[in-house]
Symmetry: D5
Subunit: 169 residues, 10 copies
């Protein structure tokens, strides 16, 4: 894994994230760990672990213990807010995204948003796919020509719109 590049935290983004983000990323870089290896140690998906690092997800006490040991970080140096507070989400990057990789995901929503809505409405009725009661994973495929494909799975609970029932409690 000598050549393995690692996701690090650009200095110019640090002020938009909770302070433990920098501690976690610095330790990850120092240890030379990928999110895949951390995820495997924590028994969590990679995106989940990355989301914890970016301050977008809650960590359990067990996650924190494992991270402290894996990253060789004193627990108190990063766990106060991560373990005892609540994430303040959505401020990591600008919207529309300027990063090309993230923009491509945004473009999928921009171009196919109504198509997704139409298909889901006909399949499930009126409602939404939850982005809260939600799982996701990223996988790699290689096709017959040897080309790499990214496969992202988004899995969210369906919530039927129940607004305005007759009796309010």
């Amino acid at each position: 894994m000598a050549d393995q590049r690692l996701a690090t935290l650009d200095d110019s983004i640090v002020s938009r994230l909770p302070s433990y983000s920098k501690s976690l990323f610095d330790a990850k870089t120092a240890k030379g760990l990928t999110f895949e290896s951390i995820a495997s140690s924590l028994g969590r998906s990679e995106v989940a672990v990355a989301a914890i690092f970016y301050g977008q997800a809650t960590a359990s006490a067990e996650d924190v213990d494992k991270l402290a040991s894996l990253l060789d970080l004193p627990k108190e140096s990063f766990s106060t807010q991560l373990l005892h507070g609540f994430p303040d989400r959505g401020r990591a990057g600008p919207m529309p995204p300027v990063e090309p990789l993230i923009y491509r995901l945004y473009e999928i929503v921009q171009n196919y948003g109504y198509a997704f809505k139409a298909v889901m409405n006909e399949k499930f009725g009126d409602g939404i796919m939850s982005a809260i009661c939600f799982d996701t994973k990223v996988e790699k495929e290689t096709d017959a020509q040897g080309a790499a494909w990214v496969v992202i799975t988004l899995r969210g609970k369906w919530y039927a719109l129940s607004l305005f029932s007759i009796l309010l409690i």
Copy 2:
């Protein structure tokens, strides 16, 4: 399928779409067809068919023939631009989306964009997942408690950033 509601085209969105969109949606409503049934007739995924209806995707000559027959529409009434032109994408709805279902997809990009980027970068290197050489599907799952889950699969080719090679041409 008496109770089946169908995705229709809100009048207030018509002026943002190519004119064939209205023809296609009106015929679909008149025939009482779901995207699922049209997709199955065309041998295409549902999201693909919905994207054609919303003017976001190209239809082949074969698609057009099948649509004309399925929707009982004179081919010339909708095929000129659909068959012989090119889509002018991305203008169906406002961004950020105001429709709750579409907003939830946008929120996933907003909150987890950097996490997706970090995981993809470590897995594939520097580059992007294509939104052009790209497939997608929507599936329904039911969990043990009988609750419905939406599973969206996004599958795009990985393109490594090759900017600035030594020899140009």
Copy 3:
């Protein structure tokens, strides 16, 4: 009820709403009905009925029957999209709102958003109050001095953030 003013549809907003909105509002005005009386006939809350009129909520077949009879409207003149389609929400007015009454609600979110979040997080954990699985009502109170107070109740299901469970499917 000679002096009763009625909520009508400003011509300048019509193009942002589905076409049945205008039919419903015009009939309501012609009949001189308040949302309160319609709601009582339909056995639905007033806000629910108003939301149907503004194209923000789904009506059931029973709602449509009652509306047709109450408003003396041929069912087919408004029911196609309302009964058989899905709402395309969120486009009725600009955000930030420019209407003073609606702006006051927006201001509550702007000023007390974080306070609501802090209190809900401590009471319920990490998650959100649903705006989909959701009820609301508007009531009138009169205090000892005879002054009127508006009491809005927002009641949404709590969804705990479950992102990133260990096992995906």
Copy 4:
């Protein structure tokens, strides 16, 4: 209360709030106090107390005394602006909100704003519900299935539009 997570102040939001916010939140965290317990000590609603912490509300001299004692904070370390100044409201977070929980409240205004206006106008006449002469509370309900519901009550004085009376002064 060993497992009780507490609302804390994300470092990246500190510069948008008055300086006493950080002092109050840090002391609250150190003491392990919820807003519920502080509110109960102060005889104020939880949202009111959280709003004081976020710099959106005024505290009385009595509030300040109780906070100093409860949080074990020297009064002069936080009271100068809180007790003797006036809040400069509305700058805690971006609008539209990016935090999912706060966004859901914003979405309610976006989708049902006109419905609320229509119902209030018919019930009260032309005017607004005050967001200044205003109370609010957050309560928890559990339904028959054991699911949790959030109930937010917004209670504001009704002000009839009196613009342009005949005699000025």
Copy 5:
């Protein structure tokens, strides 16, 4: 009054106003009436009358009768929404204003907003000046050099911030 120019309605703004606005302005132009003369007939301030014409204020039954007679307009041609509905305010022009005269008023808020707040807070405490329970008038002064001055009086009720009282009803 041969040379008197009159405020008319620019065609390009018509679609942003209720339809009665055009009827009223056209009749006013045809009759050659100023807002001053209409205001004097109605016993209302000029700004109040102009606000009615622009769809920003409610007219009473008496106002409507007088307007019909003064403008020689069949009552039913403009009174339905004006008399029986509620204004949908705030959409007449863009913000920031592009019209130089309106921009100057905006600039006063932009430059002196905090100064007004500081002075009002010290004079009245924490709260706001109402823009709802509100009067205004425009007067003309001529100074010693014969130069004209505009004097605008804004008079609004003071509402003390009462958020978060101890007992909620």
Copy 6:
């Protein structure tokens, strides 16, 4: 005046103002002075003095001398830019304003801007009310019921639009 709260400078706004703003506000707080008392010492209106504190207005040499003595501040600690430079106006707060009190003033411009324009045009011809050659004051009234009213007077010179005279110079 034991209970008198004073307008202070929120830390989060300091970086948008000239550095002397903070010095002046800190000294004002330390001395426990209202803008009313400073204005009376300087023989200037309260809003004028507040505007000087917020960096929106020029102070004369005499103003500076009086401020230094009144606030017990060494003149050189705040006078360099205030006395010898020119204000860089308009950056104190965001537009649209998020502060409720300032927003109400903005709302008056948003809702009644065209009404003000129509009335001024008919009264004065084509032109603008100056926001530069301009005075303003804030007064307190108490009505028969004991309720407080704010009366703001805006007084600006009228400038007729003289664009495009026949002879240039």
Copy 7:
């Protein structure tokens, strides 16, 4: 002048201008007149005449008479609003401008705005150059190499900031 191209009105801008704009431009095109020749007939500067055509300036009765005769237009077909109303300025094009020629003027303000301010402040004191009491002209120069130069002269009255005099009337 066979080859003389003329400024015409793009169809896509018509809806943002008063209706007389189209009448005037169409007649100008039909007559093959430049703004220079019209300006010379009216005894007005070219920019002034163009501004009248774009609805940004007032025309006098004499201007209207001359325009009617020059353009062979029945006076009543365009004079109602132009002669008897007041311009509603500033909505002709988007800001920032997208037209390259207009953008260059905007860029001058963007890049040299502070430099202009600094020089004017030192030359005139605190205040503004009026855009209302204002003349302008466009001239053509040819340099020694035969290259063409545009010379725009902007001439506005200086208004010293007089805010906050001691005595308010």
Copy 8:
């Protein structure tokens, strides 16, 4: 020149300019120099010199020598980027401008942009007035009544649109 106020650099703008801006302005203030006197020493126009100070223009080696001597500044303290780098223009202030003086210039572009375009097009053909190959000056006039007028001259080379000639290279 005892009373001469000088353009200085507001602290709140410093972070948007190159670091030499602050050095130059501080030295200018210390020396009590106007842009007029510096411009006269450098043999450059005042606006040119102000633009150099604001980081919007390039200085020659000779300019730098003269500035160093005039301002009594060690050359190396400000010349590195000014003499050896390239300006990064356009970020000094927000657009639309909030400073009243700069806004008036912006308003001229907003209101008369199309009029300028029409006149230039008819006079010069299709193309633009360069903002790069460009001179400008600010002069003071006094009219018969003793009132001051600002005269700004903008002089730019005309570039005909030559896009798309037949032969490329």
Copy 9:
């Protein structure tokens, strides 16, 4: 060329373009002509011809004659504004672009804008590459693997920044 798809004009973009755009595109579609074949008939580059169709470029009298004959269009049906007027550029599509193909060009400017500037500045000095005195072409290459590459050449005249010479005129 049976399968050749042609660039057509989406109905939803028509209102943002001059009216001759629709005439030209419709005739082009009816004739089944590509821009390549029209460009070859006109002796102009393809992008130039497309720009004429989209109202972004001027056509010569000769271009118009050839277009009329090639497209079998009566000259008067499209030539009035195209031949005798001036383009009003820049309003064809939204910025940032939502069309994926156009967005990729925008992304190049977003990501490499500063890199282009740095390289051009070092190569040419302080100034700009003209977008007015400018040519462009699009070519197709096929690499050894048979993959297609787009090669866009942008060729603009370099204009050195000459702002602020000593002598004006």
Copy 10:
């Protein structure tokens, strides 16, 4: 090369770039190196090297070694993120660009975006030109009159839109 000006990093942009940008630019300035000379040493195009300096492109281990030696910089002082991390692109400057040189590139996209799309679609079919699998170079030409021209070549792989194939894996 005594007079050679060099692209440097404006202090006001530093906080938007990764920290190694400043180190690289400072060393480049200290060594007096152009991007041309560095590019030639690295065997990379100039724009590629500038993009690395601005944090928009990845450097190889070999690039880093050469840069360290060329710039006389300890490798560890800049290589951690550059060599082992991934760029976080697109945040160097605002969009729309305010720098005149970069704006001209943006203007080309704004004005000719649809023309490029039309030509590419007809030449290549439905799809995009990649901005990821992409090369670019900047060259200088001198025409017969001795005038300098910039020639930018953009070369990107064509990706046909393959969305929605029949079989998903």
